[in-house]
Amino acid sequence: MTVTDDADRPAYDELPSESPLGAPLDWAWLRGAKSEWGIHPKPSPRGLTMLDIAVGTYGDIPEHPPRRSMAPRGADVDDDVVDMGYILNSKTDVWAENTRELYEEAVARQWSATRDIPWGELQELPDDVEHAVCQLCTLLTEVEMIAADLPAKWMWRMNHDFIEAKMFLCTQIMDEARHAEVFRKRALANGGGLLLSRGGPTSLLRTIIEAKTYTQASALLHLLGEGFVLDIFRMGELIAPTDVEKRIFRMCMQDEARHVAYGTMHLRYAVENDPDVAEEIHAALDHGEQVLIDFGTAPDVSTALALLLAGGAEHVEDKGFPLALELTKKQFTSYLARCERAGISRLERTTVPLDLLGIDPEQVRGAAPAAQGAQS
């Protein structure tokens, strides 16, 4: 470690020990602290990133931080710093190996629901389609903010040495604010408005917010809930009646995939470093999957989606519901694949009716038909 109390440096002995008002002065920070000095991180071509400054001891994330204060990791910290009452004090509680990358990505890929959606191109839609768009937007406006409230509930409990994880979660909160904004705006912008809000979705939101641990909450939110929303956004290509809604779904999709990427890698890190946590995650998902199925089959959600997938009320039965079933299959397939990637295989444990949905567990396990396709 390079320290600042270098013998060649000036001693600054002439500096006063009292202020003009008689208060004691301390020049220790100038005369040399113990923290690492002179590491000169090099900016990468895109600028000075969080990865670039993760050098020397500044890049070391302690498994168990020695303090519970807001002192910046890497600083020369006094013994009398205040305990902030953090309860997430193990790296496995919050960390993911892709945290820094995801933070930079989030900052670089922010967009504006005011400016970057072509609101001026909205067209008058058939009555049934406009109602269905508004119903879906009502639901999305309602559920988006759980993904802001949940990190907010836990962030102030996270040890400050895990600041990169907290910074990433700040970007998620901003993303979710924008998602709530864009769906609320869409509900109102084309002559419709917000429609029905009922009890069903609320039980999912309550399950997420009331999770006993952050890792359980992350499994329920990032992996399960946001994974499902991500697939709805992907299906935006078929759901959206015009290019305006398509643009909305694509922009939200990019953000949502980041949140899922953090959750998947956080759970993986947690399980790899603390195998006992796997059962805790399974228990949360046992319950969460059931609540999510109830949510997905709630009458308002399934009807609005089916109508949009059908392009109108006329073909809701012959086109809408079959496509909605395809969506459900895609959602569970990608969810189960992410669970595999996270190291918490659900294939033997899930109560999701895989047979009924036509999901092949072998394919989920990563028999890699995809790679074969790429290589064929």
Binding site: E105, R109, T264, R341, A370, G373, S376
Partner: protein, 145 residues
Amino acid sequence: MSPAIDTVAFFDALSDEMNASTERLRIVGDADMTAVVVMHRPGGDLRVRLVFEGLICAGVAEVGAEEAGHADFALVGDLADWQGMFDDIVANGRATGLWTINSLALLGDRISCQGDDPMGLDKFSRFNQTLQEFFDGAARIAVAA
């Protein structure tokens, strides 16, 4: 005339076009991903690896089957379907309707997004609009040609 789409030269031209317009890409933001375009065609598949770093396409190379498997994901389709996508882009200035790469990959019946790592596959979603901007460059190189 721009090069035939089943050539590395064509993807080099798309890369040059993207790299000359980083200001436009700034709205979409930085991207870090490795994608492989696989075109099934008579006489053997073409596999082109595209490496995206920040606001630029930093690498275009024809690769073998094994190397292709190391990408984050592969976009796989028949040459005719790729031609259909690029024709739509040239005709409209950008991909429209079901010819966007997101729509194509979602339906998966003409061009599909493949990979054995869910994290890699999710990069297709995370950086989707960067990829679309890259492909939409075909309209500009066609005009310039």
